[in-house]
């Protein structure tokens, strides 16, 4: 019996450890970006972000002057009890007592450093990266040697506002339109009802690529390119099928007697919809809203096509992609910018995770 118990405990430990390993693998990429976004620009460029964790590093403890020791760099030298050539000392030679002797500089005017391994943490955090990436004005960057470099900011604040202006209506408008439609499908009788709903189901999986060329032509005719309205309508069109389908599933399941007693009291469909159905459907509305918001906020393709021409309307994703394209090595900007772009989705995600999961379950298990 006790053997079985022990086996169970070992099994549980194994499960926990495997899961822990997977969590670490899944979290480390984001963690790296997050930590780096607070590190100094030069530090990011010269050392891995994991140096913020305690690690052992060679640090100089004392210096020797090769001339005073009378060493000849062209031959084999004896320093502090170890011998080696100039090239070997350049790379660093470890002595038996755990020290490292390194020749710093060239043969003529070099010096010898005695180094020891010490525990280090590389904690030099600041908000400079965020200041530069958010601001629209010029940003003064102080190098460690004291010189000052003036660089333009990336004006992410502007892009952030644009993304908000795109994402909020692109979330609310399709939900509103879909809720009206879903109500009609669920609680009204009209000719063509079944055929229309079949169209909705069929359109669920149609790739939006199919619409981009014709819609872009329409927008050119209507002179709509580069406006908020253009992209709101596009996101409405592309999200509407799923929204109608999900909301129909929910609204058609509302208790029949509540609605019927309202009709008997003489309420119109519009009144029933706004005062009864909408408030009762809040969980479904919320779960779709989260989906649509995340999808619109994180969208790149639709924005690229319908807002592409106008830099003033650039969204967060476009701004970030532009920085990747033009200054892909500027990790201090990319890391901070990536986090700015993630802040809002992460807040939405963590505060409304419950609704999000519920929406996923409703949409995909049935679909």
């Amino acid at each position: 019996m006790s053997g079985q118990k022990r086996q169970k405990r070992v099994g549980k430990l194994l499960v926990d450890l495997t899961l822990l390993l997977l969590i670490v693998i899944w979290t480390v990429p984001t963690l790296g970006i997050f930590i780096s976004s607070f590190r100094n620009r030069d530090k990011i460029d010269t050392s891995g972000w994991w140096n913020v964790f305690p690690h052992r590093e060679w640090q100089p403890v004392s210096e020797l002057d090769p001339k005073a020791l009378g060493l000849n760099p062209d031959g084999v030298m004896d320093i502090e009890g170890v011998s080696g050539t100039f090239e070997e000392f350049r790379a660093g030679v470890e002595s038996p007592d755990g020290k490292r002797i390194t020749w710093v500089g060239n043969k003529r005017i070099g010096k010898i450093e005695i180094q020891e391994q010490v525990w280090m943490v590389d904690w030099d955090f600041s908000l400079d990266n965020y200041r530069q990436v958010l601001g629209g004005q010029e940003f003064e960057f102080k190098r460690p040697d004291g010189s000052v470099e003036v660089v333009p900011g990336d004006n992410m604040v502007n892009a952030f506002l644009n993304s908000l202006a795109v994402a909020i209506p692109s979330t609310v408008i399709p939900i509103l339109i879909a809720a009206f439609g879903a109500y009609a499908f669920a609680w009204m009788k009209f000719p063509g009802r079944r055929a229309m709903f079949i169209v909705v189901v069929a359109l669920l999986v149609v790739p939006l690529q199919i619409a981009l060329v014709p819609i872009l032509r329409d927008y050119k005719t209507l002179n709509l390119n580069g406006t908020y309205l253009a992209i709101w309508l596009a996101h409405t069109g592309f999200g509407l099928a799923l929204a109608t389908y999900l909301l129909y599933n929910y609204i058609s399941g509302l208790p029949r007697d509540i609605l019927e007693s309202a009709f008997i009291d003489g309420a119109s469909h519009f009144t029933v919809f706004t005062t009864l159905v909408l408030p009762l459907s809040v969980p479904a509305l919320a779960s779709f809203a989260i989906f649509q918001f995340l999808w619109v906020w994180n969208d790149y393709l639709v924005a690229l096509i319908f807002l592409g021409g106008n830099p003033e309307f650039e969204l967060v994703t476009q701004r970030m992609a532009a920085i990747v394209g033009s200054r892909g090595q500027d990790w201090h900007l990319l890391t901070a910018g990536a986090f700015v772009s993630m802040v809002l989705p992460l807040i939405v995600f963590f505060s409304l995770q419950r609704f999000f999961v519920r929406g996923l379950l409703a949409g995909s298990v049935k679909g």
Partner: protein
Amino acid sequence: MEPQTRKAAENQSLGGGILAFIGRVLLAVAIPLISFYVLYLGFLFLRDSNAPREVIVLVAIIWGVGGVGLLYWVFNWLVEKLPNPWKGKLIPFVFVGPAMAILAWYLAIPTLRTFYISLFDRNGPPDGLNFFQQLASEAFVGFGNYKEVFTQDLMLEAFRNNVMWIIFGSTFSVIFGLLIAVLADRSSFEKIAKSLIFLPMAISFVGASIIWNFIYEYRPEGQTQIGLLNSIVTGLGGKPQAWPQWVDIAPWNNLFLIVIVVWLQAGFAMVLFSAALKGIPEELMEAGRIDGANEFQIFFGIMLPYIRGTLISVWTTVVIFTLKIFDVVWVMTGGQFGTHVIATQFYRQSFTNRNSGFGSAIAIVLLLAVIPVMIYNLKQFREQEAFS
């Protein structure tokens, strides 16, 4: 059909039926058109004003959202003023009309239009000609674009890569999602584990691309590697590589991009599997254990068959998702180094090369690829019979 006979009895005349039909159509078209026009006017005003950005954003949001709501209200009010038989017939279309009109404009009709454009050369159907003249013009190439789509080297490369995406992307997302769901179910920190694995779902592809670019960051040999992967590789004595750009191992360098989507999608799969696993009756598992089955036998013999439905729907969702993959490839490599996929080719042909005929043909190929799923969905819908 039953509704028709009833309608005829109510109307007593064919004329009334036709008028009601016209009224419905007008209403369905009018709401979106008027809302569109009012919103449009507001936008011209907003675009030309030099108010501070915050104000413009706020006004735009209120204008857009409020405008749509108000239009429904106005139309409902108008229809409620109509005499009774009209009112009853038109109200449903106030509700459902805008949704159907927008779906028609943005998805249903574009399918036909894109197909039509795909039959023409790079500039599409010439303007100013009627349908028959367009078909007779030199711009009409028939299925020529499709022939190109299936023979061009870059396109074949894109198809090959997309097949890799679909196979490896969906398989690994499903395997990791299932593995994590099973482990989390038995672990002592289920909630936090699930949250952390699920978290990448909230990150954009562009953000994820930056995150993984940083993992893959390459410095020439001898320099300090600041990318995690190269740091580990050099630490083990290997040579640093610019992993997704590593052409020597093509097409396998695509795997370094596919990893990103597995990282993003495993959480989605996990959530669905986790819910399905929790639905397995405990007695079933106990019965298996009493019969002496070990954990692996229980997993393959009881759990997997039980969650088969979820397995299929998760798998199809990820397949459709990887079929349309665009952002990751576009931001990471731009399709260079042998990493083009169908959607990046579509973008390149339609918007960079401005070859709308060719681009449209690619879009139609994408559509054809999802048609089996569409048929499956429709079949499921018909079987549910919930819609009477």
